[in-house]
Symmetry: C2
Subunit: 237 residues, 2 copies
Amino acid sequence: MSGSSSHLRPAGAFTDDERAAVYRAIYTRRDVRSQFTQRPVETEVLLRLLTAAHHAPSVGFMQPWNFVVIRSAAVKTEVQQAFDAANAEAIAMFPDDRKPLYSSLKLQGISDAPVNLCITCDRSRGGPVVLGRTHNRDMDLYSTACAVQNLWLAARAEGLGVGWVSILDDATLRHILRLPQAVVPVAYLCVGYVDALYDIPELELRGWGQRLALDDLVYQDRWPATKPVETPSSRIP
Amino acid sequence: MSGSSSHLRPAGAFTDDERAAVYRAIYTRRDVRSQFTQRPVETEVLLRLLTAAHHAPSVGFMQPWNFVVIRSAAVKTEVQQAFDAANAEAIAMFPDDRKPLYSSLKLQGISDAPVNLCITCDRSRGGPVVLGRTHNRDMDLYSTACAVQNLWLAARAEGLGVGWVSILDDATLRHILRLPQAVVPVAYLCVGYVDALYDIPELELRGWGQRLALDDLVYQDRWPATKPVETPSSRIP
């Protein structure tokens, strides 16, 4: 234990300025579809983002992620076609009164962004029994999503925007990227420099949804027995 | 569109100091089990953490999360018992040569931490069809994991530590917290002030695993056809 305690470091609160910077990243981060510039993303900067992702928490120190960095126009074109096909299916799923607004939304920046990045989760990594994953098999997927968020916040600090493209058929994306069976494509991201970002989420700006009140989302000690007040989003048809 | 463009704000890179603060949060964040102090967590600080979580990206602006803030000793005791039962099951799953080390690890700080927090995902929020979730039903779970990471980094900046307790039986935890069927307990977190943190992950320090080399995890354009070099964690039995 003396060996361990020599690795303890003082860990108080950040200075006010440091803390403000962390919150600035959290609050000004946006899901970017249209604001990418053509400025190339330097390998050095990209590696800083990937290193930030790699330092996410992972269940049992499993580090289940891989990073497929896509700069190839050919691969981007295949993914774009996969998005177009999936999005056509998606439009059909919405009620008629939502279809015009849905169709007007730009939901990806695949060809606009200099870099596309698929962050995957290798569900076989670490062998059949992973510490902390014995009772919840999805912990590795959650770890990978935490890596996405680390990268997203680091990108904001570096002046890059990130957009998460989720309207993709899983089998098609796996085929394009040649992913092994045990590897799940958790996030397909568009990454590039931005000069400007919206001050509120684009879906809020366009009238698709609104920010829920935090007060309605917080409970004390247990889920309340009475049905909570209906939230605005639950009324969206 | 002119209405939208009025919401665009300049969004360049952070200053060097601001960027360093974001990376400091990312690199010094730890999964805390033993370093919690008994200093009470002020409601105001806790609300800052929850607000940071609430500003995570969410698929279709679904905001699927709720926050069950647990200060009740009775609830903590029930969760502690659930952990003890699950962890006894977990130990039995590991090979004999790993059991002594596993048993020596402290894997939760349920009673040590002044605040426990369950971040949940309401899979029914937003109705049956959610933008961006049409082709991947798990996007709401990933959004919730991003909220966890936002909170974790904000906590680091505030001088608080967070530990994620994943060795819990899902049905037992749902029963204790009285979660409705559609609500998934994504993360059960222990939260409290810390004075010190390890400089490397505790599982690395104790010899359970080691940091993988980032180079081995990054691929260009597609997953390579040849089997990648075996990584240290894949050799753990």
